[in-house]
Amino acid sequence: MELNKLNIKEAVKGLKDKKFSSVELTKSCLDAIAKYENYVKAFITILEESSLAQAKLSDDLIKKEGENAFVLKPLLGIPYACKDNFCTKDAETTASSNILKGFIPPYESTVTKKLKETGAVLLGKTNLDAFAHGSSTETSDFFTTRNPWDLTRVPGGSSGGSAAAVSANMCIFAIGSETAGSIRGPASWCGITGLKPTYGRVSRYGLIAMASSTDSPGPLTKTVEDSALILNVISGKDPLDATTSPKVVPNYLTELKSLDIKSLKIGRPKSYFELDTKPGLQKGVRTQVNKAIKTLEELGAEIVEMDLTSPKYSIAVYTILQRSEVSSNLARFDGIRYGKPRSSFGFEAKKRIMLGAYALSSGYYDEYYAKAQKVRTLVIEDFNKAFEVVDLIVSPTYPCVATKVGESDNSAMFGELMDVFQEPSSIAGLPGISVPCGFYEKMPVGIQFIGPHMSEPIVLRLAHQFQQDTDFHLSFPNLERDDK
């Protein structure tokens, strides 16, 4: 059995039944990393020694307490990969930037702390666009991660390293963060499941800030069920992040089982399927997504043709807000308290900081920042009206399949145009999930479901039901092929 290919549910069962140990499971992931990392380039840091030591401790606890050990630690002994913009105490955290190279955080992010407390084993830190500024990992100051399905293509971003690591079975699951598309996008291009929770559901404490008003940590997994389990662990009010919601965290796994999708009304927004931005919606992607919608219909969901305002306005809003928040957040890098001098910033970071500073400067504030926040209100109202009629909204995740390495180079707006279907829901703080729904040009295509605030139970339920009826999520790239 290739243990690295298991999902969380299968791995937990194997550990409970003592079919294998956490050390064996962790070694199997480390072996896959050793074998394919040279081609995929998903990791910035590989924590071989500490992960094996933690796996050994997990095995000792399982030996001592048996299945009971999993009651308080549902992820006991499960190896995972974490995007390198989450601070991990005593383990280098770079956000893929030269300026933070060598930075050893003296504290732990809330997300990684919760994962540690529930037993998960940290295998390593994954590559991203530097400071998460991008949708391809090409703006990483270190290297570009490759898409395991085709090494000449990018994995999407910014959580591209995490998505590629899951897709290449180098880990059992991974953690990413999304500001607008950074989890769902790469999940879609790498053929895995990616969940962006409601803004405020998961704490941002210790996540290196990008755009604070939309940053949302979330899981990248092999199944929807695994995403529900991770969400159970990482959600909740955190005194260290004032924007976290005090609302009770339901048991998302139990919620999956209470499924009746026959009562669900799913909106298919015309403006998303007849996209008026460039590049338009790729024909092959539209075909696969429409087929998936047919499947939902056959399962009993009611598909409602509806309209939403064109996502082109959200692209502009997001561009202004993101640059503005970046210019403020990256001001803290003074090269005195931590990190290297500001001259170490990469070109992409410089570009975003400066555009943000421009948009926020005296005389332009009303023209840009204030105007964008007004349009944000319109986007929220637009969704509110839509959710009076439908329960969820369906759309493609990315408008095309994974692009070739280098394609993003000459476009100022590459990331924004790729994230076109995530930007409206992200600036409104809504939850969304991307699941694989087919292939085009031998590359995975993703479909996404978006719901109202805190509607994760329904979003997960629909996506889970889709995976019960389809097998796209069971396909993984064959890395033994010879294009390496």
Partner: protein, 98 residues
């Protein structure tokens, strides 16, 4: 919307952001800024007279940290990534003239 941006403005914003730019970077940034600002013009199509701003979407207000509930880092931890430490303090470049 003001969208005419020139190399002087690029230099000024670079200075305000404490970033050093090469001539080639300035030229490229001018090009990219113009492209981005042109795109943003799309917002002018919308009527915003009666619309108020949304700065954050959680609806939460007056969130305070309970006194004594936060743990703080030790001085040693805080200084652990400093470029230069003098007498247990961050050392910075000289700001004031003697």
């Amino acid at each position: 919307m003001t969208k005419i941006i020139n190399i002087k403005q690029v230099e000024k914003v670079g200075e305000l952001s404490k970033l050093k730019l090469t001539e080639a970077e300035k030229k490229k940034l001018l090009e990219l800024f113009t492209e981005t600002l042109d795109y943003i013009d799309v917002l002018d199509e919308l009527s915003l007279k009666k619309v108020t701003e949304t700065y954050q979407i959680t609806g939460l207000v007056n969130v305070f940290l309970q006194e004594g509930s936060a743990t703080t880092l030790s001085q040693k931890e805080v200084l652990s990534n400093a470029k230069e430490v003098v007498k247990n303090l961050f050392a910075t470049a000289q700001v004031l003239e003697r």
